[in-house]
Amino acid sequence: MRAFRYARAADPAAAASAAQAPGAKFIAGGTNLLDLMKHEIETPTQVIDVTGTGLDTIAPTPEGGLRIGAMASNAALSADTRVRRDYPLLSRALVSGASGQLRNKATTGGNLLQRTRCAYFYDTAMPCNKRSPGAGCAAQGEGATTRQLGVIGISEACIATHPSDMAVALRALDAEVETLLPDGRTRRFTLDAFYPLPGDSPHIESALAPGEMITSVVLPAPVGGRQTYYKVRDRASYAFALVSVALIQQDDGSGRVALGGVAPRPWRRDAADEALPQGASAVMEKLLEGARPTRDNAYKLRLAERTLAALLEET
C-alpha cells in the first residue's frame, strides 16, 4: 500500500471540499477501497474519512419514500423495519451480498461505487483499460477466462460487470442517488444516469465530478407487489453473482425486472418490463437484445431466462 495523508471530515461540505484535491479519495466502510489499495490498484495520496459526516440515518420523505443516508451500513439498511416491510427486495439483495462482517462495515454509498471483480482488473501484471486507459483488455485476449464477465452493455474496451447486489434492487425500485458538489450544489441521478456504460472510457465508472460526494439514496413511495431477489452463484453464500434477478410482480402480472451479473450496471429496460405478462422468454428477448456473450459466458443468457421463469412459476 502507498503512503497517504488521512483526514476525518466532520460534515459533507468539508468532505466534498477536501476531496477536490488531486489524488484524494473518500473512505467509508473501506471494504473495497482498502482491498484495492493493498493491490495498489487504487493509490490515493489523501484519504478523506466520511464516516463521521452524520449521514447514517434512514428517514421518510414527504413523497412517502425513504431517504437512506450514504453512510447507513448494508446491515442496518437490510434490517430497517420499513425496508423489510415496504422494500423487501432491497433487504433480500443486501443480505445476499458479501458476509455478515462485511455488511456491518459496508455503506450504501460505498456499495454503489465498489469496483468490478474482473480477475484481470485485479491482476496488475495484465493489461486493463479500467486500470490504465488505453492499455488493452486482458479479458478479451486469447484464452482468457470470461465465465464471470459481462454479456450486455459492454464494449470493445471492457466487458466487466458491476458486482453490487444492492444496486440491482435499487434499480428495480427506481431509486435515485443524491450528491453534494464541492461548490455546495446538489445533484440527483437515476441509476442509469449515475452509471455510464463503458464505451471507450471504462475507467469512468460514475457520473460523479471530482470531490462530488454521495449523500443519500432516495427510494420512491413503495410499489408493493411480490418482490424477490434470486442470486445464482458458484457457492451458496459469500460469493458474487453469476446472474441475479430482481423481480417485482403485481397481482395483474405486470411488474419490473432487473438483472445483476450480466452488465456494467444493474440491467433493466422498459420494453422488457412491459413484456412481463408474456413470461420469461418474452422478457429476456427484450432485456438481453443486443447481447455479445463470449463462448464461456453465453450460459448467462439462458441462466437469466431460466431463473426468471422459475421465479414466475412460484406464484
Binding site: M1, F4, A79, S96, A98, S99, G100
Partner: protein, 189 residues
C-alpha cells in the same frame, strides 16, 4: 516521552506524527492504548504488530476468510479491511477479551467440548463471529436464509451456517462449529 509499547518499541508522537502518521486511541478488551500509527496500518496489524494481540489472525488480508474477525463497539467486522486510525476512540473486543485459559467464556468452552477446530488458525475469528451472530439473531438482523422478514428469526442450522459463511475453515471443522454454536444458543435460551 511515551512509554514503550508492548513490543518494546519506543514511540515519539511528536516525531512520528507527520503527514502519513496519525495519533489514535484504541480501547482494546477494556484497556486504553494511545498510539501513533502509519495511516496505512490496518486495525488487524495494529492489534497484532503494535499491541501484541496475536489472537486475531491474518488469513487472506482481503476480507475473504474471516480469520481477522473482531468486534468494534459490539459489531463484528473484518479487522484486515479497516484502518486503525478510523477507530480512534472505539471499543475493540478480540478473542483475548473473551476469556482466559483459566476461565474460558461459554463459546470458547463449547468449541472445546465439541471438537470444533483442528489446527485452530480460524478459531479466534470463528468464536468472535459465533458470539456476534447469536446477538444478531436476537436483534432481528435478517440473513439470506431468513424466510419471513417480519417475524422473529428461528435459530436453525441454516441460519447459523449462512451467518457463519464469512468464516472459512481450511480444516473443515464446520459440522462441529455448528454444534458448538447450538450448545451456547441452547444454554442461553
Amino acid at each position: 516521552m511515551h512509554p514503550p509499547d508492548q513490543l518494546g518499541r519506543h514511540r515519539d508522537a511528536s516525531a512520528a506524527c507527520g503527514d502519513d502518521h496519525s495519533p489514535c486511541t484504541l480501547h482494546v478488551n477494556g484497556t486504553r492504548h494511545d498510539l501513533t500509527l502509519d495511516n496505512r496500518t490496518t486495525l488487524l496489524d495494529a492489534l497484532r504488530e503494535h499491541l501484541a494481540l496475536t489472537g486475531a489472525k491474518k488469513g487472506c488480508d482481503h476480507g475473504q476468510c474471516g480469520a481477522c474477525t473482531v468486534a468494534v463497539n459490539g459489531t463484528r467486522i473484518n479487522a484486515c479491511l479497516t484502518l486503525a486510525v478510523m477507530h480512534d476512540g472505539d471499543e475493540i473486543t478480540t478473542i483475548e477479551g473473551h476469556g482466559t485459559p483459566e476461565s474460558l467464556d461459554a463459546m470458547q468452552q463449547a468449541f472445546i467440548d465439541n471438537d470444533a477446530f483442528q489446527c485452530g488458525y480460524c478459531t479466534p475469528g470463528q468464536i468472535c463471529s459465533a458470539t456476534a451472530i447469536l446477538e444478531e439473531i436476537r436483534a432481528g438482523l435478517p440473513s439470506h436464509v431468513t424466510e419471513n422478514l417480519s417475524t422473529a428469526i428461528d435459530l436453525t442450522d441454516a441460519e447459523i451456517r449462512e451467518r457463519m459463511s464469512g468464516n472459512l475453515c481450511r480444516c473443515g471443522a464446520y459440522a462441529n462449529i455448528l454444534k458448538a454454536i447450538h450448545q451456547v444458543a441452547e444454554a442461553h435460551s
